[in-house]
Amino acid sequence: MSAADTTTTVPGHGSLSRAQTIGIMFLCTLLGATAQIFIKVGANGSNVGASWTTAAGVWTNLFAMASNPHLVFGYGLYAIMTVLFVVTLRDEELSVVYPVIALTYVWVTMLSVFFFHEAVNWFKAAGVVLIVSGVAVLGKDGRK
């Protein structure tokens, strides 16, 4: 660790602008939500029903998951999301980035209405508005 690492702005390798970081965080939550939709579709159509408490059951389940395209794609998206999450953490505070991930709830709620025809109600609408405003308030702070 050099002394430069302790300063607030480190012009390291390929520094990101604030706008770029925000864009990546946005993409991150959208990918996370899409992953959840795929995992839900995959879980509904899979035979991951063996016991998780025995070694044999765990292997049976893991094999069932690995042979399910929806689940594989969903978890693949999670992997990409995690990489992007880490990239944003490089330049931003954890106390800002982590709560922003809650935008995933907003996307999942909207995508579920679209893909699974889940009912819209006032609770969900209020929840979406509250989370978006919370993220907006958090966004006023930032940079480590």
Binding site: D5, V10, G12, H13, G14, W52, T82, V83, F85, V86, V87, L89, R90, E93, L94, S95, V96, Y98, P99, A102, Y105, T109, E118, N121, W122, F123, K124, A125, A126, G127, V128, V129, L130, I131, V132, S133, G134, V135, A136, V137, L138, G139, K140, D141, K144
Partner: protein, 121 residues
């Protein structure tokens, strides 16, 4: 679907454990992310990041098991406990400032998650 009355204490305990483990996953990802200032290759050659990912995997395993034993409207608010843990750890381990905006933003987000949980229940 089972009603809220069918949410077992076991499920609530599992969710709380999951949120705790998950928040530590975030701590290790943040600690590992600092290494990226030395180059993007440290996305992969990075023990802290690997540990962070493993903790996330462990916490999601707990979530999945818990979700089978409970109702979303009860479990959702507990899931968001991880945001509170993360706020504490970010102050404790990374000396991040806890500002009024952070508290207000987090409070709005927590309320939003509770509402979405109620909407699904």
């Amino acid at each position: 679907m089972t009603g809220p009355g069918h949410t077992t204490p076991l499920a609530m305990g599992l969710i709380s454990v999951a949120s705790f483990i998950g928040s530590f996953g975030a701590v290790f990802l943040k600690a590992g992310a600092a290494r990226l200032h030395d180059g993007w290759r440290y996305l992969f050659l990075n023990p802290k990041l690997i540990l962070g990912v493993l903790l996330f995997c462990a916490s999601s395993l707990f979530y999945v098991i818990a979700m089978r034993h409970g109702e979303l409207s009860v479990l959702y608010p507990l899931v968001s406990l991880s945001y509170i843990w993360a706020l504490i750890w970010s102050r404790l381990f990374f000396k991040e400032r806890l500002t009024r905006n952070k508290f207000a933003g987090l409070l709005l987000i927590l309320a939003g998650i509770v509402f979405i949980g109620l909407g699904k229940g």
